[in-house]
Symmetry: C2
Amino acid sequence: MDLISARARFEAIQDRICQALGEADNQSFVTDQWSSKLGVGKSRVTASGEVLEKGGVMFSHVKGAALPPAATVKRPQLAGKPFEAMGVSLVIHPHNPYIPTSHANVRLFVADPESDQPTWWVGGGFDLTPYYGFDEDCQHWHQSAKDLCDGFDTKLYPEFKRWCDEYFYLKHRDEPRGIGGLFFDDFNALGFEQSLAFVEAVAQGYLDAYLPIIERRKDMGYGEREKAWQKYRRGRYVEFNLVYDRGTIFGLQSGGRTESILVSMPPEVSWSYCYEPEAGSPEAKLTSYYLQPREWV
Amino acid sequence: MDLISARARFEAIQDRICQALGEADNQSFVTDQWSSKLGVGKSRVTASGEVLEKGGVMFSHVKGAALPPAATVKRPQLAGKPFEAMGVSLVIHPHNPYIPTSHANVRLFVADPESDQPTWWVGGGFDLTPYYGFDEDCQHWHQSAKDLCDGFDTKLYPEFKRWCDEYFYLKHRDEPRGIGGLFFDDFNALGFEQSLAFVEAVAQGYLDAYLPIIERRKDMGYGEREKAWQKYRRGRYVEFNLVYDRGTIFGLQSGGRTESILVSMPPEVSWSYCYEPEAGSPEAKLTSYYLQPREWV
């Protein structure tokens, strides 16, 4: 298992994504290298571009002496073993409320990396959080997800789509975070080389899914009403990430780099007591129609 | 143990606080009664008043068939017993960044209320979260806390002040949430009647501590810079409440009324990657001087 070349492949994923999003935004991402006792990272962030209000595409590579039990629920025999983890995680918050917020993540986990038989798996996925729904965007997003999965195994999309719907769910709101996409973890069924190829395909699939939506929506006009709705709905994003997201909570509790973890927070957010959009409005349709369990392809 | 009259005393606390804050704000709180299978509540909220941008003063009275282990860390023998809990909890977010955000809470917990010997305790406190610091406000806040405690026992203030500093702490920021105040729990040392009287004194002490600060700061001029700083710092408030606050997390996980629990969220919030205020500025002094372990009286 060649972890040095695996790392180069993750760094290349980060480069490709920043290149593509930076072109769409007409502004480059700024790079911030960091290191700590946990490992090293390269945080690439952007703010106030033409299209993106705030965005972060973070690479990190960490090592630890003892795998925490929370990271190994499915593999309790690995708790306490040394481990190595690397990955790319991103959240993109556009200015225009008609462009959804997007999130993607790819990662490789290796337990007992120095042993003869290290245990490894990959995880990740991508999901979309619209403020205003458009059927063609939802269909295109899920079609891109399905196409990339089908290139490896047609069983993957239905499984990873369902997993995504289950994971990105705000129990206290009885509401999904968005319209889903892909989520997978503990995945090694394809073997090491093909799993890394799958992870690369997920990253490329994210761009294939998201960039056309940016293009279609970026010139749509909006005003205070749409911006207020976006800020209100971003509150749900904050609630999910701080209350439920395992990566965020584990990162904060384990002494990860706070600013890199919380780059996912939206730039401007509002909360309003018992706010309900007017019945029949496009805002009400977001929850009544788009944020419902649905097969988009 | 007369829980009916105890409840009346908590409802009276809510009334007095809403009356006093409503007068300071020149606008009444709006009342929202609710009931669920857990119990009943009266949420009193305000928004866009003269002084208050958003505020909620919530009474609730809930009963449960089985005390969750999280509520009884110090009394494991009570886990699984029926229980009854009532209390008032409030968070006040003023418009003016020179007026701090404030929080107060008083509550009574009774385990096994139908038995011959129910176990009961009170808890609560109040704490202050400034955006700009003023020594006289911090001293007045803590002097009010000390005065009310000293009326019962001079040992209480130092203990409850330290507990407050420990509790309202953001580990991932290595930063206290504010300048503290009082925090207590599992408290029954004064006996039932005097404990309720103490809880009433805490509520009155909160008003004695906060209202003069509102008066002193409400006419201070501010502009975009101060508002932007307030919105940025409110992000810390969100982080604390969603990541650490036991009441919030327990409420959301146990199926409490989401809008009443999250009325604590600030109205307008922002996050900005790696933001640092200019060295030597009043904004920088907040963390370098005010948010440091300190005896204010």
